[in-house]
Amino acid sequence: MPFIANTDEQRKRMLADIGLTREQLFSDIPKELLCGRLNMPDGLPEQEVRGILAELAGKNSIDLTLFLGGGFYDHFIPAAVYSIVSRSEFYTAYTPYQPEVSQGTLQAIYEYQSMICRLTDMEAANASLYDGGTAMYEAMMMALRVTGRNKVIIDTSVNPIYRVMIESYTKNLKIELVQTHCATGLVDREQILSKLDDKTAAVILQNPNFFGCIDDFGDIAEKAHSKGVLLAVSCYPISLGILKTPGAMGADIVTGEGQSLGMPLSFGGPYLGFMATRMKYVRKMPGRIVGQTLDRQGRRCFVMTLQAREQHIRRDKATSNICSNEALCALTALVYLSLLGKQGLRETAQLCADKASYAYKRLTAIPGVKPHFRAKWFFNEFVLDLPCEAADVIAKLIEKGFAAGFPLSRYYPDMKNCILVCVTEKRTKQQIGMFAEALESVL
């Protein structure tokens, strides 16, 4: 917000009206999180302040060649995406509050839901959630509601950022979170099956998993279902252009991070959580849902549907506290997918896989660099063993203009020398070659 119109005098009057001091107004925010004094002299002219801020912003590395993924990906975004989503008709409230008069917004959400269903091979999708992590949490809560059970199995190959979010959300709830350990790059069937019992609500898995490995959870779905357990799968939407879908594997709830569908990488988002399920569970699904119907004159129109699940009607029994959606991000995903089309998405996914495969060959040819897992099927990310600590190598490569990957030791303490490398369709053969040379030079 570059300009705030309120004067000090107006602020004083507003505080006086509500009978609070400035300190009292912000008393709910922990002191250490409040912005204290800025490291900047008082009374600087606007132009100088801008200069200082621009200089600070200049310290960010914004032109690195990205080989960094870990759940958020650097894909090419056609210019038309931004042109369409930034139209003022769309660029307003983040979720429709007087929905039925906003037929355009509702139609866009309906089409977005339809695309998510086709992409994941599921029967019903909601209007979107905040991000991939919260969507996974919501999937877990949904499984608890469907089954009336309270134990959840989650594998360590699920994005650790999501797992941290889930732990934080469930800390004060009566939920038994059981973790299975992924040692080979693929989910350990025996561990999971040994933990499945009649108290288990869900098994939560990810494909491709955080290490980039791809799997088919069909066998797990079958075993889970035989014990009344749901399978929740988080997926990377671009990969679905070529990979077997969670729906085809028998998943009951599918979620994921939708950033890769036309949204730029940005610290803090806004990102997009998507969620889809089977029709039989639709009433247990959280979030808003747009449906298609006919008006009094028989014309096709769109409405918010199944609202009785939601907070404003169902109060404390609502399916979740989600009463909004990421409408603009959902629209972005819709526009991106529309522009790419079925064939375009398939080609994008294939390019990612092919280029990653080429990078894998180049990088593992460097002396001292080895693949970490024996599981050899990956989509566009893979784990490499380096001869020294990954974090150090990554720091050195930033100097050379590369974001080399994700240091896995941040979440997996025994993987000190492991780096997670990602390649999207945006990387050229030349860039991959230069990256291999740079990596070799710093080892």
């Binding site: 009433r283 009785a308 699940r309 009607i313 169902r314 029994k317």
Partner: protein, 126 residues
Amino acid sequence: MIVKGLLYTKDHEWAKVEGDIATVGITDHAQDQLGELTFVELPETGKEVRQKGELGVVESSKAASDVYAPVAGKITEVNKELENKPELINQDCYGAGWICKIQITDKASINNLMDAARYGEYLKGL
């Protein structure tokens, strides 16, 4: 409409007690307040419920409301017809729109219910 011979709760459920089985539904007042029903979440057969415990949910286009057990006991049967025809409750709430049958485990719990006359008085006072 209130039917004589049935027992009623303040939450607008009715129970028809025959031997140790109670057939349970929601009253005409309840269905009228809710409007056109779109969905009924039925309890599971075999489930034990306490008096006033949650039995299921009736949902209309404007509200969703819990249905509470008028008596304590075990669910022996549910009205599967309602899965596809929730409107049966609107059409015939004391007949074809019954929700479930409960085998009463605590006979004394029946004494907490109102008869038709008292329920009629209760409705007037709302």
